[in-house]
Structures are given as structure tokens and as C-alpha cells.
Amino acid sequence: VGVAEVFRSNDPAVVYPYLIGGLLGGFVVALVTVFKKNWAMVTAPIYALLEGLVLGALSAVFEARFPGIVIQAVGLTFGTLFALLMAYKSGLIKATENFKLGVVAATGGIALVYLASLALGFFGVSIPFIHGSGPIGILFSLFVVVIAALNLVLDFDFIEGGAAAGAPKYMEWYAAFGLLVTLIWLYIEILRLLAKLRSRR
């Protein structure tokens, strides 16, 4: 045990209140934003602050277990954002109706698996393999990361469409909120994928 470890608490209990508070508060504020889009100028910044608490807590706990994982996940998240932005601007990826339908369906499927996993968890049942670090767990995580990344294309399309249609100014805040939700999801899924890969060693 090094000196530095002796002098640092690194206790998850220190940050759990922020994690839980941010998650619950963020969920409520996100719902308000979706139903009251013209409030986005106020609710989107509040959502960002609350999610910051969640990401700070989550990142710190992952970093303590797997040193260096956070900078990798941040780099990969922004790398993915700019790669897809270029692919979108160059016309390599087009948000056709079929593309959108596929991404929305896959996202809904993932949401169902997560909900089922959560519900079964209350009864002490866990869906085998998908949360583990075996090949199935890694492939599942990789699939979720790809779908989260493709959701970025839907956000780009939404922003471009809104600007082209002359949507009201507050929709800038709403579109930025949508992009932030996708980026946070992508970051968390990349973090989980990297953690699975590292716990194999």
C-alpha cells in the first residue's frame, strides 16, 4: 500500500448521495423538459448540472477501480462525436426514414432489456451474461455503444431540420439538451465497455 493510498479516502459512500440525487433530479427535470420544450432555456442547464453530479461520482468510482479509464472514455466519446459529425456533414451517413426507424427500434429494444433487467433485479434475478465481462457481455456493450453513437445522427438531423424549418429560438436549447442526453448515455456506455474489457485481464 503506497502512501498516497493511505491518505485518500476513495470511499464510494462519499459520492453516492450525489449520484442518487443527480439521477432522480435529472430524471424529473428531463421529463419536464420533454413536455415543456419552451422551458428548455431554464431546465436544460439545470439538467446539465444534475447530470454533472452523476458523471462526477460515477467517473470517480470507475477511475478508482481502473486508473486512466475516465480519460479514455472522455476521448472516445468526443472522438465518436466528431467522427460522426464529419460522416454526417460529408453525406456518408444520411438520416433516411429507414435509418431513423432502425435506430429508434434498436434504442427501444435496449431500453426494454434495461427495464427488464431492473425489474428482475428487484426479485434477485439477473439476465445472464449481458452484464458480465464474457464475450456476450462485451458484444452486448459494443452493440449498445454503436446504437448510442447512431443516436447522435438523429440529433444532428433534428438540429438541421429545426433550423431549416425556422423553429423558434428556444428549440436551440431543446436540441442542445437532446444532444447532451445522447452524449451522456454514450459516455456511460463506453465507460462500462472499457471496464468490462479491463476486468478480463
Partner: protein, 66 residues
């Protein structure tokens, strides 16, 4: 604009209408990019704060002189 003989689609079809919102009140891509940057900053500040709380140096009770 494309030239056409169709009298209902001449160059004047889209003129004479006021936009429903003033030009400064319409959503733009640039404005959305700026706001996304702001939201990322709003996200980073509390994240860094919680991170520092987690990794803050702690003085073990036995080290505190009584």
C-alpha cells in the same frame, strides 16, 4: 429558383410573407452548437467538484494531534 411555366410556382410565390418569428428569434445551427457547449460546461463543473470530493486527501484520525 428553378424556372417553370407553372403560374402558381413563379419566383414570387414565397415573397410577401412575414416569417412567423423575427430573424433573431429563429433557431440556427450555430446557436445550437453554442448552447451545447454551454451545457457541456454546466455538466463539467459539478462533475469536477464531486470528483475532487472523492479523491480528496484524507487525514487519518490517528494522525490528528490531540
Amino acid at each position: 429558383m428553378m424556372r417553370t411555366a407553372n403560374p402558381t410556382l413563379n419566383a414570387g410565390t414565397f415573397t410577401g410573407y412575414a416569417r412567423p418569428y423575427g430573424t433573431t428569434e429563429v433557431m440556427t445551427i450555430g446557436g445550437t452548437v453554442n448552447k451545447t457547449g454551454l451545457l457541456l460546461l454546466f455538466c463539467l463543473l459539478p462533475a469536477a467538484w464531486v470528483w475532487r470530493k472523492f479523491f480528496a486527501p484524507m487525514i487519518p484520525p490517528s494522525f490528528i494531534p490531540t
